[in-house]
Subunit: 138 residues, 2 copies
Amino acid sequence: MQTNIEILRKNKLSITQGRLVILDIFLQTEGALAHADIEKKLSSNFDRVTVYRTLQSFVEKGVIHQIPTTDNTILYALCKENCEAGHHHDEHVHFVCVECEQTTCLENVIVPKVKLPRGFKPFQAAMIVKGHCVSCKY
Amino acid sequence: MQTNIEILRKNKLSITQGRLVILDIFLQTEGALAHADIEKKLSSNFDRVTVYRTLQSFVEKGVIHQIPTTDNTILYALCKENCEAGHHHDEHVHFVCVECEQTTCLENVIVPKVKLPRGFKPFQAAMIVKGHCVSCKY
DNA sequence: GTAACTGCAAAATATTTGCATCCTT
DNA sequence: AAGGATGCAAATATTTTGCAGTTAC
C-alpha cells in the first residue's frame, strides 16, 4: 500500500496540501467517488475550483481514472500500480450497486475482448455492470 | 422501419409536435446524440426545457436509451424493437470513435457475460469501446 | 527565484422547478 | 372537458477562466 506522498512523487506531481488531502480521501474510500462526494468529505475550507483542477491533474498523470455513468456525473477511482501517465490500464469491470449506489472497481475482473464488425479498430474498452453488491445482496 | 408516429403510439406517448420532431432527429441520425446535439439540430423555436422533458419521457418509456460517457454528457440513442417501457434491452456494445467522436450502437455485438466475484448479483451490463470507426480507420 | 498551485471573483453552461397556457385525446 | 405537454421566467447547480497572491522545489 502506497502513501499519498509516495503516489504524488511517483507521478511527478508537486506535493501540496490539497493534493495530499484529496488523495487521502481516495485511499480511505472503498469504491469510486463523484466530484460532489469529494467536496462533501472536504473540510469546507477548500475551493471548489481546486478540486476540479486536482482531479484533472490526477487523471492526466494516471493517479485516478474516470468511470462513465448514465447520470451526468463522472466517478473517479484510484488507479492501481500499473497505470502510467497518459496511459491508463483501468481495463477492469466497474460494478454499480442499485441498492447502495456505490461503485466498486472489480480489479480482478478484466473487460473481455469482443469481436467488432469489420473496420472498427478498438484500443480501449470499459464495462459497467449494475446489480446488487456483496453488502446489499439479499 | 417504424415512423415517428408509430413509435409514439406503441409507447403510449401522446403525439405532439415536439416529440415528432425530436424523434425524427433520432431516426435520421446514425449513432448517438447528446442533449446539445439535439438542440443544435432543432429549429431554434424550441424550448430547451422541452428537450429535457422529452428526452426524459423517451427514456422512461424505452424509446431511447442512455449511453454513459466520461465527459460529463449523456448520449441518447434509439432503442430497437425489443425495448419495452421500464425495461431496456440495450445490451449491445457502444463504440466511441476517437477521431470523429461519433458514438455508434453496435446492435449486433452483445455485451458478454463476465464472472463476478462471489456475492455480486448482476442484472445489467454496459460496455463502451473506444477506437477508430469504419469511416475513420486509416 | 521560478514555475506551479491556489483562492477568489466572475462568467459561461447546464439542469430543475413552478406556473399559466395550450394541445391532445 | 381533463390531463398532459409546452413555454417562459427564474432558481439552482455545475464547470471554466483569468488573475493575483502563495507555495513547492
